[in-house]
Symmetry: C3
Subunit: 342 residues, 3 copies
């Protein structure tokens, strides 16, 4: 059975094939209703706008029935994911039941489960997603976990490919200020897929804001295999020089896990992505997964200026969602019936 949960499970050719399908679906609807008679449960343990709407619309547009669930809060039961515990706390249901049950009622499952933000060692286990993968009898889609957001990464690479041949182009992931210690899923996946696609990767971040070593090891290997550069720097605005893609994103520190970044005005000013910084690039496109805090992560002048592709990037969440659903669930086409010759 196929899942779509982590980029590392795929080769760049496989990911590009899904993106090829998304590009085709952006131009025209598929023939027929390939998901007719199929239901999918999209389970959210955290807020969502793009992911929720894109998977709902994608499923319906392919003839399927989307069920959007607020899992573990609100309308459903609190969920346990650890095996062997005595459930005398707040969780009323174990994923060991919930996931197989959903798999009996639906033909595919999605899960969004953010890290709790208290211990990276604990969050990195991705207990909820691991339970979905372990217990599911139907394909599972990772709609953002602690370690990655592969659906976002697909839309990101699609957006880049629509504008340039990524190989040997320069990709900057530039850390940005925030009021919260945000998850690292998006920056992890952004640099991972950029490195898979053969781009030169620069990560500009303050001291203490390095990404997870396992992710960085894969990124390093990818860059080495592709003959591309990987550089880390805390020099801004110099980091913007010569870039073709600027991916702005805030994330929390691993060394001071869960602690919000400094609110010092000079520090914020240094890292907020500005028009002045963008002007140092090679007419780079500006990317962000959204939602984005205007004036804090990035100046209005960048989002409203010629660099920004963030709305196109969000739209591509819809097309890549369709492509992922087809990749996981569409029946292979039967061989065309041969005509009998007379």
């Amino acid at each position: 059975m196929k899942h779509f949960t982590h980029l590392k499970d795929f080769t760049i050719d496989e990911l590009n094939a899904i993106i090829d399908s998304a590009i085709a679906l952006k131009k025209s609807a598929p023939a027929g209703l390939p998901l007719a008679g199929k239901s999918l449960a999209f389970c959210f343990m955290n807020p969502s706008l793009r992911t929720q709407v894109s998977f709902s619309v994608a499923t319906a547009s392919l003839g399927g029935h989307p069920v959007t669930l607020s899992l573990g809060s609100g309308g459903t039961w609190g969920m346990e994911s650890v095996e062997g515990v005595v459930m005398d706390g707040t969780a009323a249901e174990h994923l060991k039941e919930a996931v197989p049950v959903l798999g009996r009622m639906c033909q595919g499952l999605g899960l969004r489960s953010f890290p709790a933000g208290k211990s990276w060692a604990e969050d990195k286990k991705e207990n909820a997603l691991a339970a979905f993968i372990k217990y599911s009898t139907v394909p599972v889609i990772n709609m953002e976990s602690a370690s990655g957001h592969p659906c976002q990464a697909l839309a990101d690479l699609m957006t880049i490919r629509e504008r340039m041949e990524p190989k040997k182009k320069n990709f900057l992931l530039s850390w940005a200020p925030h009021v919260k210690a945000l998850p690292m899923a998006v920056p992890n996946s952004a640099v991972e897929i950029a490195s898979m696609a053969g781009m030169n990767v620069t990560i500009a971040r303050p001291e203490g804001y390095d990404l997870d070593p396992e992710v960085m090891a894969r990124v390093g290997n990818n860059c080495a295999a592709n003959g591309a550069r990987l550089s880390l720097t805390d020099k801004v605005p110099q980091s913007f020089d010569g870039q073709h893609v600027v991916y702005g994103k805030s994330w929390g520190s691993l060394s001071e896990y869960g602690k919000p970044p400094s609110s010092d005005p000079a520090f914020r000013k240094k890292w907020t992505i500005s028009a002045a910084k963008m002007q140092r690039t090679e007419k780079a496109i500006f990317m962000h997964c959204l939602p984005v805090r205007r004036g804090l992560v990035v100046e209005d002048a960048v989002l409203d200026g010629p660099w920004s592709v963030v709305i196109d990037e969000a739209e591509n969440r819809l097309h890549t969602a369709k492509a992922v659903l087809l990749h996981l669930l569409a029946s292979p086409k039967p061989a065309p019936a041969r005509r009998h010759r007379k």
Copy 2:
């Protein structure tokens, strides 16, 4: 691009054409699935029963895919609507991104956004709805804003038209007691559409409960243009004399904005709509947008008596929702293929 956000953007003929379509749709389903392949995002910043269900069912019944979103709370991100702010507060996303993104995934958007109830000057700006209109690339439906509830008004006029020719008939908007300072959207739209339809309009309300002067100016102009009467009074039960339509509704005071009305029993008794008051009318129909607080806004004997049309009025929310969707989104019919004569 067409929107359906404020009554003042339409002539009475245009509104009546939408209602004509609703009346036809109430009798029989439209041919085919005019919204096939189209998705709509209905965004709620506040509670809803009739609006939520009517737009969901209307969309599905026309072949479209409804996505009901709890925007700015619960399942999605807190939303900013003011331009130029540094987003270092609680809102994680700006409507300047969210609205265009939804417009890339869906073919139409609805928004319910109640006033905050602290400053009428601030609420009247309708920042969220204004942002939807400004940033949307697809049609926008106002599912109740601070200033009006045009979808309710359509159902209201349809309900009146099903029972009488509105021109020169007497329409009473009668203020009613409540435990909260309720929004003025419904009473604003009710008197505006009644005045557009040529009815004589009476507004009975306690001192300090006048509607917004801009709305009243439009209502006055409409009545003048139609040769109809507009009167304001605080005399109850005399206000009920000779009325053909009684529209009961509580709303908050503009002069003491956000303060709940008096709970004095004599004051409540004076304004609660009673069977005795209804008996003074010309066998008037009793209308209310619902939800309604029984025993406080209106006596059970009225809601359960011969005057009440509130359930029909609510049902008409469904048919007018379909008509609004078709008005905004249905492709114009192709010219019928000509038959070849032999």
Copy 3:
């Protein structure tokens, strides 16, 4: 008009006919889309996973449009169900309006309304469900009320019938420990349908945990009419001897209503359903409605062992949901057109 709200409204033959339909639907989808053009509103006043997903998927798979509503909280208005009250509290809407309105927009309604857990005399009135039945003009489905969970009972009997002929087989309802005083709906319906199906019923529970006398009277009558045994016991593990079906479930005490059961370790150990207890049975199947607290209600070794049918039982919620929808809403088949003989 047909409803599906209480088991006592049906004969076992009628229930078995619905289950026959569910068994057929489990094998193959029905011809055509029997619910095309029909919408259903599933109203939840409490959390749900299986019920929510099963009715949504069942409705869509039959061609209908499901609307899942969080009623009386969250996205809609607080609901009043008592007649004649002055609504000056927190409830903004009376079911006397909400239910007929939903019936104008939808062709069927479902309601989940748990007991409040303060007074059994009050809870037993099932005010919300009673209001749905009283005010609805379309079929009503009880998706769990204070007194019963008939949809669960259908899936339960279907699960038993798939494995054995129930008549004269031994059915044990075994009380289990919990951190909360849970509702009695599921155990009530489980023993009621088992007794209707002609099984010998044993209820093993601690002192003070007897089920409602009205339910027990019906169960007693059913057993007497079927020549089957009904026994009550507080002897565990002896109660497991010779059983063919073990239905594990916790519920709160009627005599100390709303008070959680003892957390004494010895008491818990006595009542937690264990592999050792299951080994005393006649290779019984282990059933539970889910969600279930592992390690507290039942040992992991039972849920993960050869006895457990809980996932099949949950899957059958989907098939019985379809059968209930068809029972209530599908148009009777037109008589087949007669062929003209030549």
